[in-house]
Amino acid sequence: MIRVEKVTKYYPTFKGLHYVLRDASVEIPARAQIGVLGRNGTGKSTLMRMLAGVDVPNRGRIIKWGSVSWPLGIANGVQSQMTGRENTRFACRIQGLHYDEMAPIIEFVQSFADIGAYFDEPARVYSSGMRARVGFAITMAFDFDFYIIDELTAVGDVIFKEKARQVFQEKRLKAGFVRASHSTEELRAECDSGIVIHDAKLEYWPTIDEAIDRYLSLAGTRGDGGGREKRARKARRSQAHSTANSAGDSVAAGAEPSSKDRELRRALRAAKRKGRPGKPDASSLQVN
């Protein structure tokens, strides 16, 4: 369990103190699958860093029962000077593992990250995707009671995403997840409850649907992200309808699109751009 008690966090700016959280309290039960929502700059990453213990509040306290992972994000935790193997070994050492206990962990990370010979190259030559894959694999190689995942949605190819989904499924049986993301679809699929950060306050919602609705209503009133989300949903619905008609697929209008559907639509859009409306070529339909 993680208990956030009257936490206040601010950053000094030229115009005075910028409050990210003010007297925020929330209790995250063990094995909870919580999505964290909020507009850019509202303090999602700060909250994740504080939950992981990398950062500390200015006031209040965060009490943790059990082990909490380091915050897993796009560029976190992988040191440029070290190779993927050395980064893994480093993580093993700071976890207090002995040398002979490291071999299975390294083997897991190497096969999971699947970056080939780059695993023994310094991380400074990695692409951002490769860094994220190694960072993700290192985190998943250890068992924590809570995993802190900060906007790690668009990492890797289809195969890696499938592997990540499987490992998430395994881990969530025995551990909790706190995930910050802008992807409402992803959070709806993966989380049970939600936290919305708004005006330096934490709002806890017992179901993720309520949290997403609250997030969208907050964003929508400002005519920005929410508007975009609504427009995107509308576009998706009409596109799904046209896809179902044109390609003979079974996607119903308004239904949650699968990854295969998204690939199909992307291919259709690409074909349209090329001036060849209609059926896309077979190679662009490959999903797996």
Binding site: P57, P71, S80, I94, Q95, G96
Partner: protein
């Protein structure tokens, strides 16, 4: 304003012992990582780090030897110079190589186990080990080729003196690591100020040959005091009249205290400043 906190509730093993074990694991991990990274830069990187102070010591000693200076303050020049430079290098390498440890290892602070002081301790251990290994190897080389070696009349006192010098050097390194991470110009200024230290610390020229008035001024330099007493304990050289080991020890303790306070006061800001 009172700082907030993140508390991890642990069961079983005492939290203090657990914390010590965790920190020693982290420091060892950073030491391994640092050696690996240095070795990758060049296969001979560690060899160069060892050979650099040896060449430094040997060249200065050889120059004085070639100018027919065989005895300084009653000691053979090939003993007098290496002993002085060894103590000098402990301090100067601490304040020149260690303070950048936090910024160089900023990415590691993404792991909650790694605290900003850990890279400072790790780099300090590496630098001091290499410096002392190089100094010892140089003294053995001189013994082998020239046939002179320090008598070490008071070995325990010499070790104790080195421990006090290391304490003060770590305090200075920690202080500079904290403020050098915030203000890089501090490190540049310290590097500049460090240059004349070799001339005012009785490393190349003996303080005994200077007028008493100048000796009085120079006695405020704690590094000079350490070097004089190190030669006294390791080779039996007479200490200059203004010698005061209590003053030097006090400066060491104050440096460690200020360094620790500076770190404690800024330990959270250091993590946020990345």
């Amino acid at each position: 304003m009172r700082q907030g906190m993140v508390i991890t509730v642990q069961n079983g093993e005492q939290e203090f012992i657990r914390g010590l074990k965790r920190q020693s694991s982290v420091i060892m991990a950073i030491i391994f990582k640092e050696i690996k990274v240095r070795m990758r830069t060049s296969k001979f990187a560690i060899f160069y780090v060892l050979i650099e102070p040896m060449i430094y010591i040997l060249v200065i000693a050889a120059i004085r030897y070639l100018f027919r200076t065989t005895l300084v303050d009653g000691l053979h020049v090939m003993i007098w110079i290496p002993l002085g430079i060894s103590a000098y290098l402990i301090f100067t390498r601490s304040i020149s190589k260690v303070p950048s440890a936090i910024s160089r290892n900023a990415a590691l602070l993404d792991y909650p186990q790694v605290k900003p002081i850990d890279p400072v301790i790790a780099i300090f251990i590496i630098e001091m080990t290499l410096t002392m290994l190089a100094s010892t190897a140089t003294i053995f080389l001189i013994w082998w080729f020239v046939g002179v070696a320090p008598a070490i009349p008071q070995p325990l006192e010499a070790i104790g003196l080195l421990a006090i010098l290391l304490t003060g050097s770590f305090g200075a390194a920690l202080l500079l690591a904290v403020y050098g991470t915030f203000y890089e110009n501090i490190l540049r200024t310290v590097r500049l100020l460090n240059r004349p230290m070799i001339f005012i610390s009785s490393v190349i020229f003996s303080v005994h040959q200077l007028p008493p008035k100048v000796q009085g001024y120079l006695s405020w330099n704690p590094l000079l005091q350490f070097i004089e007493y190190f030669r006294h304990y390791a080779a039996g050289q007479q200490v200059f009249p203004e010698g005061d080991l209590v003053y030097a020890s006090l400066v060491s303790a104050v440096l460690l205290g200020i360094g620790s306070i500076a770190y404690y006061a800024n330990r959270y800001t250091l993590v946020q400043s990345r």
